[in-house]
């Protein structure tokens, strides 16, 4: 809601207005992060076979996304910042993917 008024305000000025995230957003995100920390600990005690690390990483990705979007304010930032963050994460995944494809296609775990 406040996000809307802020955008209109900024548009009226014709420039990117500095966005002030209201504290309630921080409080809600803080609560969600604490709950997810509990969930990830609990999930690690449940036998899920190969899905244990996948679930742990998924919860980690959700937590990191919340931190990036709200605590770090990327949701309210300029397109340039959004593109920078996206391009950086994409490059990171490409680098990991290429490294892994090299390791997987060789004598796996035998040296």
């Amino acid at each position: 809601m406040s996000e809307h008024t802020e955008t209109q305000h900024g548009a009226a000025h014709g420039e990117h207005e500095h966005h002030v995230t209201p504290p309630i957003v921080y409080i809600v995100i803080f609560g969600i992060l604490l709950v997810l920390t509990g969930v990830t600990v609990g999930a690690s005690y449940v036998e899920m076979g190969v899905f244990n690390p996948i679930v742990a990483l998924l919860i980690g990705v959700v937590k990191a996304t919340l931190v990036i979007l709200f605590f770090m304010g990327v949701k309210y930032s300029t397109r340039l910042t959004k593109l920078t963050v996206g391009a950086g994460l994409f490059t990171f995944l490409v680098l990991i993917g290429m490294t892994l494809s090299d390791y997987i296609s060789r004598a796996w775990g035998r040296w």
């Binding site: 500095h18 992060l33 690390p53 990191a64 770090m72 910042t81 892994l100 775990g109």
Partner: protein, 255 residues
């Protein structure tokens, strides 16, 4: 920081009197507007954080590969970590991220007292995190789980002699696999150590910021420094968000 003084060297008097246009003292001359300056600084901070992601990413990739190669060693070694301390530290760090975010808010809304309060809380929570890490590290030193000449395989060859291994129901590992636990602890110390170095740098900057905030430097409209430090602090939090499940929570269920 020195933003307000940096543009004044040369002829400070002339700068203040004979100045063609109106702008706040913290706006540098090569920017057209405060907004442009803030956007450019934000962009630069993110570029720095991306290099940090690549840096930690290398460690995470090494972890990923070795964990898949030597899974039994990683499970047994991970059982040596104290899950209570690990969870507590995650809570401490998330709370410090929250107080930092609130600090940015109070800087933006120009409330000096609350800003200083939030920065002090963040500072203290950072110290608590490092304190808990110290307790954990000293446990590892006592049990000779620090990679190097004095590394001991005892907890993995004779799990019944080790409380943590016994509680987790570990079975003795064959010698060649037990040796790979050293690799886990190498990665554990490299990753949590680099993370701790980032925390120490962050706490040092926070100490500096508390004095500057008391002088009113961040509550007069120029919030860039607090904001960008906030980005750094949250980034360090994100690294821990991934370190915690990967290092502490490998196969905690009965196996």
């Amino acid at each position: 920081m020195s933003d307000s003084t940096a543009i004044r060297h040369g002829a400070p008097e002339a700068h203040e009197i004979d100045h063609g246009h109106e702008h706040p003292p913290y706006q540098r001359h090569h920017f057209e507007s405060v907004e442009q300056q803030a956007d450019a600084t934000n962009f630069a901070m993110w570029l720095f954080l991306l290099t940090e992601i690549m840096f930690f990413g290398g460690l995470f990739t090494a972890y990923l590969i070795y964990r898949n190669w030597y899974y039994p060693a990683f499970v047994a070694a991970s059982h040596q970590l104290n899950i209570v301390w690990g969870t507590a530290n995650t809570g401490v760090l998330i709370t410090s991220s929250f107080t930092m975010a609130m600090g940015v808010y109070f800087s933006e809304t120009r409330r000096k007292g609350w800003l200083v309060f939030c920065l002090v809380l963040t500072f203290l929570l950072g110290l608590v995190f490092l304190g808990i890490k110290t307790i954990e590290y000293s446990e590892k030193i006592e049990k000779h789980h620090v990679p190097g000449l004095h590394y001991s395989l005892n907890s993995f060859l004779n799990p019944d002699s080790d409380e943590a291994a016994k509680a987790a129901g570990d079975k003795p590992l064959p010698l060649d696999m037990a040796r790979h636990t050293e690799l886990y602890f190498f990665l554990y110390f490299a990753m949590t150590g680099m993370h701790a170095v980032h925390m120490i740098i962050g706490i040092a900057i926070l100490g500096f910021m508390i004095f500057r905030a008391q002088a009113g430097a961040y509550t007069a409209g120029h919030v860039t420094f607090v904001e960008n430090f906030g980005l750094y602090w949250h980034f360090v939090d994100i690294v821990w968000i991934f370190l915690f499940p990967l290092l502490y929570l490998i196969s905690r269920h009965a196996n």
